[in-house]
Amino acid sequence: MFEWLEYSILSIWVGESLWGYPIMLSFHVVGLAIVVGVFSVYNFRVLGLFESLEFVAFVDFFKLAWFGLILNTSSGFALFSSQATIFITNIPFLVKISAISLGSILAFLIQSRLRVHANDWDSGVNRPTSKDFWFARTSIFLWASAIFGGRLIAYYF
């Protein structure tokens, strides 16, 4: 299946054209900055930093983060397809993909809690609980792990 993917029109363009790979890498790094940037700021906010920032505003910023994630999934798939058989056995790549999958599921759970509680948290009716703190710390760990794995892919062939 991965061999077939390497011979698709997309993967040949990404792998063999002059600008295919760098264009996809550019989309990938823009997406990374948006996703990890927005989720990190939110997680720090939950953990008690930047206390005057309203939680309700992050409902909009999460939409931007999901856009970043779509950008990353699409460009990442294009990059993956160009060397699918190599990536799929690369340990740092597998660490990265696992961290992103878990990080995305967790981001969805974090967003669900934000949507329910944002107004109460902002008005001081109640505060984020230990569950939210645990989600925030795990989310920071998973996005950092995704960067860790991603940066090491090129070094462990």
Binding site: W19, Y21, P22, L25, S26, V29, V30, L32, A33, I34, V36, G37, V38, F39, S40, V41, F44, L49, F50, E51, S52, L53, E54, V56, A57, D60, F61, L64, W143, A144, I147, F148, G150, R151, L152, Y155
Partner: protein
């Protein structure tokens, strides 16, 4: 000037140590990417609000994110300088790197202009309302510069020498 810089860095103790320590370069890359996420994430939120969007957020509160942007910038300045010391001949003559440095200066001047001219007048505006056009211009200049810096950094291996 660039040649003198390259010559003075090549063969220096730090240059030799960086090149001979296998784990150091990938570690620098990891920290450079973590730094860029903190910097770009904070600037994205600050500038989007400054451009007049997401008005549920108090515009004065977004200033609280500046230390986080500062931490990200400091991480990337440090790791970036170590990249340059580790492989000066690769970076100093690279057109992508040179334009990236120019954009960092533009982003810095824009931040200075914001601090001196725009930040003082923001106090008179509704913290949950629209922003003056000077603030919007500063926000778009900042976003363009930082995302330009991000893209040029990523393209350094693919563009030629200047």
């Amino acid at each position: 000037m660039i040649e003198i810089l390259v010559q003075s860095l090549e063969g220096s103790t730090l240059n030799i140590w960086i090149l001979s320590t296998a784990w150091f370069w990938p570690s620098l890359e990891i920290f450079h990417f973590i730094g860029l996420s903190l910097l770009l994430g904070s600037m994205l939120i600050i500038d989007i609000r400054l451009a007049g969007f997401v008005r549920q957020m108090n515009i004065m509160a977004t200033h609280r994110l500046l230390p986080l942007a500062g931490v990200g910038f400091f991480i990337n300045l440090t790791t970036g300088m170590l990249f340059l010391i580790g492989d000066p001949a690769r970076y100093a003559v690279n057109i992508g790197f040179q334009i990236k440095m120019l954009l960092i200066i533009i982003a810095g001047l824009n931040a200075l202009w914001f601090a001196v001219k725009i930040s003082p007048i923001l106090i008179d505006w509704d913290p949950y309302g629209d922003t003056p056009s000077a603030a919007k211009i500063s926000a778009y200049v900042s976003l363009s510069a930082w995302f330009g810096i991000l893209l040029l950094g990523r393209l350094i291996p693919y563009v030629g020498t200047g």
